[in-house]
Assembly symmetry: C2
Homo-oligomer: 182 residues x 2
């Protein structure tokens, strides 16, 4: 018999992968349990609630992403806004990051309807993104918070565009963003 903590941790680990792959829309307890390789009974033994499962999984996922982003675009050297737009828009459309962006869109869609607990999670992750961008902008940039917010909007928009158009259109938009002037 594994301990409760061990089982819980393993479940989170496995569910992180599963949620990233399948999204938020089909998250019943039984499906989650199957993905974690346990019974729904055990899932509710490890976690108080379906909501608690989701919160933990999304937080774990946020942590994993943070690491990946740090590695993908290091905090130094600092970048001009143009360079940052180019780097971020390329990264956000890479196969590694794309699944997360899809999930990110789903979280925001749920948050837009005030579905607990997504609203709070969306704010958390959004703030993390903003900080991540701002930390990579050169100190020469005027009004870094505004520029960071603009860049975040741009890369989120690119992710949306990728879904609602053919991939080429998103490609074109990304390149166009890299050019002067906006």
């Amino acid at each position: 018999m594994a301990s409760k903590q061990e089982g819980r941790a393993l479940a989170i680990e496995r569910l992180t992968t599963h949620v990233l792959a399948t999204g938020l829309s089909q998250l019943s307890l039984r499906q989650l349990a199957a993905a974690a390789g346990i019974s729904d009974r055990m899932l509710l033994y490890y976690f108080h609630d379906k909501t608690e499962v989701i919160v933990e999984v999304l937080q774990h996922l946020g942590g994993a992403l943070t690491g990946e982003l740090e590695a993908a675009i290091p905090p130094t050297p600092k970048r001009s806004s143009q360079a940052m737009i180019a780097a971020a828009s390329a990264m956000v459309r890479s196969p590694d990051v794309q699944p997360f962006m899809r999930l990110w869109i789903e979280v925001i869609a749920a948050a837009a309807r005030d579905q607990a607990p997504y609203a709070q999670i969306a704010q958390q992750i959004g703030a993390g993104f903003l900080a991540w961008i701002e930390a990579r902008l050169s100190d020469d940039e005027p009004d870094k918070p505004a520029t960071a917010a603009m860049i975040l909007a741009m890369i989120d928009g690119l992710a949306l565009l990728e879904v609602c158009s053919d991939g080429e259109t998103a490609d074109i938009a990304a390149r166009r963003m890299g050019r002067e002037p906006g």
Copy 2:
């Protein structure tokens, strides 16, 4: 007894309002029927399917939006990319259009998971947006399709930002987009 066509049209009318207000997440037949003021039995008499209900409602909603957009930003005079960004980002965040953008995010989130029929609808509406933007760009603009795609990404991104941050951040980002250079 109203005719089938009349009942159907009235249901679409009422459901359009309802879906715009409450989103895609809670769309059970019984809830839809209640919103339309009829029984679920009648809803499935008017429509073949739950899917058909949703498709019709979203298409009707797309039509309504098209009209509103035409009025909000007339096709003439033509605009520079900067002016178009400013106009579109202001419009997209107006109280009239905001509910639609929230719904738009939800449709894309569903489309990202290939949930029928959202993938197709998202493509349709996305193409409409692109055409709408492009038609308002000055002929002096080089590479209008790319610019239109960029602007669409920007305003979609603004809508996301509005959900995952406080309203002020989206405000700042919108203003920053209006400045040179990107």
